[in-house]
Amino acid sequence: MAETTYLEAIRQALFEEMERDESVFILGEDIGAYGGAFKVTDGLLDRFGESRVIDTPISEAGFVGAAAGAAHMGMRPVVEMQFIDFISCAYDMLTNYVATSRYRAMLPCPIVVRGPSGGYVRGGPFHSQNPEAAFLHTPGLKIVYPATASDAKGLLKAAIRDDDPVLFFEHKYLYRRIKEDLPGGDHVVPIGKARVAREGKDLSIITYAATVWKALEAAEQLEKEDGLSVEILDLRSLLPMDDAAIVETVRKTNRVMVVHEDTRTGGVAGEVAARINEQAFEWLDAPILRVTAADVPLPYSPPLEDYVLPQTTDIVTVARKLAAY
């Protein structure tokens, strides 16, 4: 079987879900004839027509709100943000209206908001963002951020079928750089379950999205140069978070670091560390360490972007410190 890219996996999930369920429709800027800024929706207009593949005006709050209303009426809208950076324009709709609708009004709001996220692409401060932490603090939303093509497909299918709103972050650096043989059949990956990306026994790296690949690189290097056996836990779902998997890896290796591409303060790593503190403190042999971006807007020029974002060498440095503690 031919290998499938991360991008193509997402397209397949959209295609299959639209085939399976007539209430699924997609909307966003330039997603129809143009096929989307990254061509994720290429071909969907031809297959499903203009009523189910809707080009929107540049009105993120407007079309997220409209998706919510359609979802109340039994539709399953999937919204594309041209870049995830523009999700902030719909922050009010998502956090005030969408996230609270089930709790406050017993109105289901099964929408998916997806879009290209993340840096390492010289995109500058407004085409590189990782906004997951801004929404992690909002009960009522679910958040997933896959690292592999298989998870991208399976989690998107799960997100579309989920009865609650799901933010689906796609890493644009991974779009065309990774590929794999996808499982056949109706491949659905449950939301809320982490994945062990590499088994190990000396220390654990908890991470998600593009930095899973950085962590894998670091793990190879640490094994070769230091003889360290590194376990990598890919969270995949940030909300809900898989506490059981986190505790399990802590109990296994007793040394943990958390790596993410997003900035440090108020980031996902802090939340992971707090959960470990509460649920597995006695299993720790060392403090929990973080590798993250520095707390600045992501700059554009290569030397600056490389300096701000977490790199493989950082993971190696911190892992050595952790192992020696």
Partner: protein, 390 residues
């Protein structure tokens, strides 16, 4: 790929608004009547308009060369065919006035004093570029010269310019602000909220809507059910006027009247400039969604430089040598700017930690980066990614 009929399939052709500038637009209530302001331009100013348009076009052409040599980092955005709208409108401002450009407004920035070397350094992500490598392309500003850098989020500069001009009003300064938005950006909430606030406050603000037919791939008819964007002004209780955006003198006239009106304390004007985006959204965009022949028709019949050259030589009687001298000057300036930009250094990595707050001006490096000048021994290793099957 499905091809949808754009507005160009019927109606969106060059000359659609030609000739409307005097009769149609002047009759809008609240806009001053009188002789065309451009009739008062000096001979030198008439040539200046050509210089700025030529500089805009040639500078972008140079950037295309650099892009093809992979010296530009990131996307390249053109304003080919829109030079008159940018230059003519900015030319209507005074030095003390402030404008906020968008991605098609290289020409406006040049008129306001932006230097070609700065633009090239920006596109090459150099350390001595105006943003020191933090922001891309023409996303920068300089308050001393009177332009404010845009962010990507469309529409956001409208409320910001409302605030800029509100400050002029509060301090009793006879200054005016000008903000550009694309046809697509008029769909944003920020456009609406900012414009409404400016209108109710009677801020000295001119809003220039550049109707170039498309927002990325989306034609105007998919963006709004309004057929003339100037009609959006009705919703804010302000005058809305429309002019031929590819006629630099018409652009100057309509903007100058709105600027004068703002300076007199009569509030906001919305100007719709009819133009056409002849290149894709950015260099990567192959424009497959554009109806056949549309681009070529605009190029042939409604190129703003060609049109103004005809005015300069046929009506204003400038001779070819004077035009050629400007072309030569532009080329020399761009050559010098290119050399200087190419020789510029990339930023120092640790400069990333400077300037996030006034105080502290410098944040500490993350502990594991202490003493590390450059973050990476090797840059991101694309080839290594995705090879793990663990």
């Amino acid at each position: 790929m499905a091809r949808r009929a754009g507005p160009g399939a019927k109606g969106r052709g060059p000359g659609a608004v030609a000739g409307t500038r005097a009769a149609g637009d002047r009759s809008t209530p609240g806009v001053a009547r009188g002789p065309r302001p451009s009739a008062r331009l000096s001979r030198a100013q008439q040539l200046d308009l050509y210089y700025w348009m030529r500089l805009t076009r040639s500078l972008e052409e140079r950037l295309v060369n650099l892009y093809r040599q992979t010296k530009v980092i990131g996307g390249l955005f053109r304003s080919l065919g829109q030079e008159a709208d940018a230059v003519g409108s900015a030319f209507a401002l005074e030095r003390r006035d402030v404008l906020s450009p968008l991605i098609r407004n290289l020409g406006s920035m040049l008129v306001k004093g932006a230097k070609p070397v700065e633009i090239i350094r920006q596109y090459m992500a150099k350390g001595d570029s105006p943003t020191r490598g933090r922001e891309l392309n023409i996303h920068y500003g300089d308050l001393d010269r009177g332009f404010i850098g845009q962010i990507s989020h469309l529409g956001d500069m409208v409320p910001v310019m409302t605030g800029v001009t509100l400050s002029f009003k509060l301090r009793g300064e006879a200054r005016v602000g000008l903000v550009y938005v694309g046809d697509g950006a008029t769909s944003t909430g920020s456009f609406h909220e900012g414009l409404n606030f400016a209108a109710v406050q009677r801020c000295p603000l001119v809003v220039v809507v550049e109707n170039n037919g498309y927002a990325y791939s989306t034609p105007l008819a998919r963006q709004t059910a309004v057929t003339e964007l100037k009609d959006k002004a009705l919703a804010y209780g302000i005058p809305g006027v429309r002019a031929d955006g590819n006629d630099v003198l018409a652009v100057f006239d309509v903007t100058k009247e709105a600027v004068d009106r703002a300076r007199r304390g009569e509030g906001v004007t919305l100007i719709e400039l009819m133009t056409y985006r002849r290149k894709g959204h950015a260099e990567h965009d192959n424009q497959s969604y554009v109806p056949a022949g549309e681009i070529e028709r605009w190029e042939r019949e409604d190129d703003p430089l060609d049109r103004y050259l005809r005015v300069l030589t046929a009506e204003l009687e400038f001779d070819d040598a004077m035009i050629a001298a400007i072309d030569a000057r532009v080329k020399d300036e761009i050559d010098a700017a290119t050399d200087a930009a190419e020789a510029s250094p990339m930023p120092e990595p640790t400069d990333a930690l400077v300037g996030i707050y006034a105080e502290p001006a410098l944040i500490e490096p993350l502990w594991y980066r202490a003493g590390v000048r450059s973050a990476v021994a090797a840059h991101e290793r694309a080839a290594g990614w995705g090879t793990f099957h663990g």
